[in-house]
Symmetry: C2
Subunit: 234 residues, 2 copies
Amino acid sequence: MRSIDVCLSPELIHLYNLSDKIVVVVDVLRATSCMTTALANGIERIKPVSDLEECRALQAEGFLGAAERNGQKQEGFDFGNSPFSYIDNDVKGKQLAMTTTNGTLAINKSKDAVQVLVGSLLNLSAMAEYLKTRSEDIVVHCAGWKGRVNLEDTLYAGALIDALDGEVSLENDAAMVALATYKASNDEFYSFLSNCSHFRRLSKMNIERDLRFCLTTDEFDVIPVLEGDYLVRM
Amino acid sequence: MRSIDVCLSPELIHLYNLSDKIVVVVDVLRATSCMTTALANGIERIKPVSDLEECRALQAEGFLGAAERNGQKQEGFDFGNSPFSYIDNDVKGKQLAMTTTNGTLAINKSKDAVQVLVGSLLNLSAMAEYLKTRSEDIVVHCAGWKGRVNLEDTLYAGALIDALDGEVSLENDAAMVALATYKASNDEFYSFLSNCSHFRRLSKMNIERDLRFCLTTDEFDVIPVLEGDYLVRM
């Protein structure tokens, strides 16, 4: 049986051999939730970039620009890191350049993989169904917070393992830790996460609507996949 | 209220400011269980060293030498990494030099702390009672396996948080992940851990007696504390 493994922080990803794996990158609050929402609402393709300058340059070329640091929208960009940017605005057919504190870094550190997918609770079941059609081993790469392990991405990893029930073996302890974390939530994500550090960080920013949305499962069937430097709909 | 934080791998410890913290280093299978057992059985002091050469040199000077790599006792040393070495042999008043795959590294990476303590399930309650008498914030530093997160050390961190019930706040998500992992065990450590990677690794070595012993809580009241380069009984 093929295996699923979990990397709880981008600072540990060098310990994993990705060359024959499918990697699912997750940053529930909020980068990968935004990416899923953007592609589901008609964004043509997304270029995840590491720094603000590159994002600004692409915006000048006609991309929509989304930039977040420490949870805050950055000055001079079209969007920050709210999924509602892609619901409340008409973004059909546009290209998007995006840079965030953790999520884009985790994507860029996953590029050795056979395939890089973007997961969020919003496309949880679609992701599990797709992965069931593949034969490669899987690594869930949690974006965390500035290198640290976070609760929401660990929870997602556990939820994905649970959704793949019986189809994968848990080869590594981090996968067991993630599954235990997910089970402890009793599927009450909002209350379970209400004490996590990023929740408290974001709550001060008055974005409860974002938090509730990002913790909704199966809003979309779209799976973002990395093709070259761009995320596109599979 | 003072806080408790958990670092799930020595590869993440640089993200933590230890200078005003008490650090509890844990490597349940088996380094810190051995250290606790050794001091409880009369070893005078322990020098944790990083490499085999230094361990060999100290053995030549009259120390007992304990050396493990990848779970195996190393050729030419008195002991490997079994706690029974200190129960089945008369070690009273002796000095011990010890090098292991993960545990001694985690201790050496914790030296910036106000105080470095060595925890294991064997001294769980004694550790919790001692920590209740202190006012500093606490970091549990899990030794893991070659940089990766492991189940048994994460479980210990959660068990310690649970034992400190109400006396500390959980400032960081890794602490919540550890607590969820501990709760998932239902205090049935042996069966909970029977699928973890290191258990499987060690099971092949025919050391079930070691595994069962290391998963026993409150066998000893001894708390090893680092004084200079040596671990001694507090």
